[in-house]
């Protein structure tokens, strides 16, 4: 088992899948140069299957749909915020096409989105919009948080016959971890318990998993045992693992870097309130970004999104209730 970075794990997954399936190709803006730190060097091996596009997100994200509809398996890379420019193609075409046409066509597309926050990029480059896509049936939504999951989930995403929204939290890009050798694929719809505990369950998403694990270390010293659950895919969502954990601990905190209203934290909270209500011993706590845009100033930005302290405070509140 090799220790590699999150970005290198993604690179490996893309390379391996492109080697084994010649219908896989990748396109995006300045990806041959590897602007997102993942795809650099791919064009040397794969040539024309690595395509630099013009700044036309609506055009090339829609082109991915057409290519997939006739037998290709496109991977599209972009910054999460640029999805806004392509929303019609993502929603009206990628998400709806299969159903609307009565299942005549499979659309094996992976849209890879780089999520930025906490690095002073200001409001236009700081979007964590996976909950919006969770509200749009037809898309599968993946949020890996370790190098092993990044590789294993991306390989599954590329092999899946449906459009996948694959969110890569930029705060994890340089993090390192062990990645199993060989053909390592992680199934969708299977949450991972990243840390076992007995007093409170923290379901954490994206970069909040690492922060929840640090919070758990701190809380352990205070005598609070935290279980950290990483859903890994939010569509499909592994409800069973979350409900089982809450049944054990009786307390739930959901940590999500998305804006709080209608976040994945909201959805998971509602699901547990409805399906696991009698196992709860305390009110559910949502820890998410404030419903406020991300300001540029370093003095202000850090106040918007959740951190280790906010997660720890929520866990303490849940345990004290």
């Amino acid at each position: 088992m090799a220790v590699i970075t999150f970005s290198d794990a993604l690179n490996q997954a893309i390379k391996e899948e492109m080697r084994s399936d010649e219908t896989v190709f990748i396109m995006g803006e300045s990806i041959r140069g590897g602007i997102y730190g993942v795809t650099g060097g791919l064009s040397q091996e794969f040539g024309d299957r690595v395509i630099d596009t013009p700044l036309s997100e609506c055009g090339f994200m829609g082109a991915a749909v057409g290519a997939a509809a006739v037998g290709m398996r496109p991977i599209v890379q972009s910054l999460a915020s640029f999805a806004w420019v392509a929303m019609d193609q993502l929603v009206s075409q990628a998400a709806k096409m299969r159903y609307m046409f009565g299942g005549q066509v499979d659309l094996p597309i992976v849209y890879r989105w780089s999520l930025l926050y906490g690095n002073n990029s200001a409001a236009h480059h700081t979007d964590r919009h996976y909950p919006m896509f969770m509200n749009m049936p037809g898309l599968k939504i993946v949020i890996p948080t370790t190098p092993a999951d990044a590789k294993g989930l991306l390989k599954t995403a590329i092999r899946t016959n449906d459009p996948v929204m694959f969110f890569e939290d930029n705060s994890l890009a340089g993090t390192r971890g062990e990645v199993p050798d060989g053909d390592h694929a992680v199934p969708f719809g299977v949450a991972d318990v990243k840390r076992e505990g007995s007093d409170v369950t923290v379901v954490a998403l994206a970069g909040m998993v690492r922060r929840a694990l640090s919070a758990a270390e701190t809380l352990e010293e205070e005598g609070i045992s935290v279980e950290v659950v990483d859903p890994r895919t939010i569509v499909p969502l592994d409800k069973e693992t979350i409900l089982k954990s809450v049944e054990k601990t009786g307390r739930l905190v959901v940590a999500d870097p998305a804006h709080k209203s209608c976040s994945v934290a909201s959805e998971i909270s509602a699901m547990v309130a409805q399906e696991g209500f009698w196992t709860l011993q305390a009110p559910i706590q949502r820890v998410a970004s404030l419903d406020c845009h991300f300001p540029f100033s370093p003095a202000l930005e850090k106040l918007v999104f959740p951190n280790e302290e906010k997660i720890a405070d929520a866990a303490r509140a849940a345990v004290a209730a």
Partner: protein, 332 residues
């Protein structure tokens, strides 16, 4: 390239397809009137020569995409009118098992990659299919059909630029029926002709009489030959006219008359089916009896299609969630 002038088999096939579309959409109008057809319906009456001439220049394995006004395109491409009618009535035997309806006909088995109700939204998709043709090393071409209104969408311009820089086999076919609902294109297009926009994308742009099915066929055939030869995309503007309002029932809402009687009359005189019939007879390609015979056969075929649709079952409640995903997941 062989001269198509007077090719009887081709000319009669185009007549039959135009008549089929006309009869189909006349039936749609009746079904809307009697409330048997629910939802929105946009008929193609008056514009038949565009789709028929264009699709006559395609092979079965070439691709097309359409828009909200697209009952005609699948019929022109050789789609089964029975399944088209069944789809419009929301029946399980329809192209899309009743899940798409009037604005979303598709038959991937013969290259009909589907229709988008969002104007211009299918153009990037068409470009993607063409990109696949190039990557897969086949010579299939793609025709996205779109209107004058769609030519003002960003998606249209991004699609044209992508096709041009990548030299993709796309024939952008703008059906300029002159009105985006009630707004004349001269109020919304900054150039005189939509075909002029090709200059910005370094591709040939031609204007064709969209009422003349033979002219359409010839123009598209030339663009298809270029595309197959790897010489890249073209833009064809078919100047045509929508004989009916934007959608069925809209005449009850629209209060400001946006077209003059004279204009309507002028274009009705240029009915593409009547013009083609005249060509057939004047050039001695077919007799009036042969033309009438096609009309009679088409009427029977559409009646049969309607009967097929009426006799077909609706989808069952258990069909609701199928087709959401290829690799199914729980749906709550």
């Amino acid at each position: 390239m062989a001269d198509a002038t007077g090719d009887k088999e081709l000319y009669m096939r185009m007549l039959r397809r135009m008549m089929t579309i006309r009869r189909f959409d006349e039936t749609v109008k009746d079904l809307v009137q009697s409330a048997e057809l629910v939802g929105m319906a946009h008929v193609y009456i008056g514009e038949e020569a565009v789709a028929v001439g264009a699709c006559a220049a395609l092979r079965d394995d070439d691709y097309i995409t359409g828009n909200h006004r697209s009952h005609g395109h699948p019929i022109a491409k050789g789609g089964d009118v029975r399944r088209a009618m069944a789809e419009l009535l929301g029946k399980s035997t329809g192209f899309c098992k009743g899940k798409g309806g009037s604005m979303h006909l598709a038959d991937f088995s013969i290259g009909i990659l589907g229709e988008s109700g969002i104007v211009a939204s299918a153009l990037p998709v068409a470009v993607g299919a063409a990109l696949a043709s190039k990557m897969q090393g086949n010579d299939r071409v793609v025709i996205p059909f779109f209107g004058d209104g769609a030519s003002n969408q960003g998606a249209c311009h991004e699609a044209m630029n992508l096709a041009a820089i990548w030299k993709l086999p796309v024939i952008f076919l703008c059906e300029n029926n002159q009105y985006a609902v009630t707004t004349h294109f001269s109020e919304s297009v900054a150039v005189e002709n939509i075909s002029d926009r090709s200059v910005a994308y370094n591709m040939p742009g031609v204007m064709v009489d969209g009422q003349d099915v033979v002219a359409m066929y010839e123009a598209v055939r030339e663009a298809v030959a270029r595309a197959r030869a790897g010489e890249g995309p073209s833009l064809i503007e078919a100047r045509t006219y929508r004989f009916e309002d934007h959608s069925e029932g809209l005449n009850r809402i629209i209060r400001d008359p946006y077209r003059t009687d004279e204009e309507l009359e002028y274009w009705m005189q240029r009915d593409p089916i009547k013009l083609h019939e005249k060509t057939l007879i004047e050039q001695g390609i077919a007799t009036q009896e042969e033309v009438d015979q096609v009309g009679a056969e088409v009427a029977v075929a559409i009646e049969e299609a309607l009967q097929f649709a009426r006799d077909s079952p609706y989808p069952e409640p258990e069909d609701l969630l199928t087709d959401m995903y290829a690799d199914m997941i729980p749906i709550s």
